[in-house]
């Protein structure tokens, strides 16, 4: 249990593009590299593990749980700040979901990432300190002074 009160992040946006094109941009490994990871290892197929390669920011394994053209694509991963190639299903992970709906202007995309409330506190702290030089030093200094 951690101090996280918020469990879910949610974003909604309308894209001026047909639903099929948006779905392919999300679910097709040859297309997702135009806006998300730099490279993908694996096919991003349902039930399989693939790896998002973010170059300098490292590699992150995903486990695709659903790929339903052109409505819904979802995967699990270890929360996005840290990089981990290990199987996300074997550790605390979040569920990322892309839902698509045709609207008059194009496609409404609803993105949700959920599961933050069940992440252990140590995972969050490690993730922040791995990726922000000085974070752990700063927190240690603050704790020391608070305890004095």
């Amino acid at each position: 249990m951690n101090t996280m009160i918020q469990d879910t992040i949610r974003r909604e946006l309308v894209l001026r593009a047909p639903k099929e094109r948006v779905f392919q941009a999300i679910a097709d490994p040859t297309k997702i590299v135009s806006w998300f990871p730099d490279r993908v290892e694996g096919k991003m197929a349902k039930g399989e593990r693939s790896v998002f390669d973010f170059s300098d920011f490292g590699k992150v394994a995903i486990h695709v749980v659903a790929s339903d053209p052109s409505d819904y694509f979802a995967y699990r991963w270890v929360p996005s700040i840290g990089a981990s190639e290990e199987d996300p299903l074997k550790q605390a992970n979040t569920l990322v979901e892309f839902r698509l709906e045709e609207v008059s202007d194009g496609t409404k995309l609803t993105l949700t990432e959920s599961g933050f409330a069940s992440l252990p506190k140590e995972v969050i702290e490690k993730s922040l300190s791995d990726n922000n030089e000085g974070w752990d030093i700063m927190m240690a200094r603050l704790e020391k002074y608070m305890a004095a």
């Binding site: 951690n2 101090t3 996280m4 009160i5 918020q6 992040i9 974003r11 946006l13 894209l15 001026r16 593009a17 094109r21 948006v22 941009a25 999300i26 297309k31 135009s34 806006w35 998300f36 920011f57 929360p79 996005s80 700040i81 995309l109 993105l111 990432e113 933050f116 506190k121 969050i124 702290e125 993730s127 922040l128 990726n131 922000n132 030089e133 000085g134 974070w135 700063m138 927190m139 200094r141 603050l142 002074y145 608070m146 004095a148």
Partner: protein
């Protein structure tokens, strides 16, 4: 290296000074203190103390409350809440990725 979110960078800067760290420590009981109590004995002028406090206000670590002839300093440490900082960073990254998705799918004609 990872670019810090603006708020995180502001917090780091705020805590990276010995006078400001001491001021925050004095407030850590949770009780508001007048400015004079927060900044006494630090070898800084009253003007210097106000400058330091403004840095902490901008980082949302403290807030100031005028009370009669005094100004009281309250600790409001939401910026130090690890969980909130983490979620804010994740949201920031998604916003950037969704902008990139938009540019990709809307520019294909």
């Amino acid at each position: 290296m990872m670019q810090l979110d603006n708020q995180m960078a502001t917090v780091f800067n705020a805590l990276g000074d010995p006078a400001r760290i001491e001021m925050v420590r004095r407030l850590s009981s949770g009780q508001p203190h007048p400015i004079s109590a927060v900044s006494s004995g630090l070898g800084i002028t009253r003007q210097g103390a106000r400058k330091h406090l403004q840095v902490l206000v901008d980082a949302r670590i403290v807030s100031l409350e005028p009370k009669g002839r005094d100004v009281y300093v309250h600790l409001t440490p939401e910026s130090l809440d690890v969980a909130k900082v983490f979620i804010a960073e994740v949201e920031r990254r998604w916003d950037a990725r969704l902008d990139a998705l938009r540019r990709f799918v809307e520019n294909q004609d």
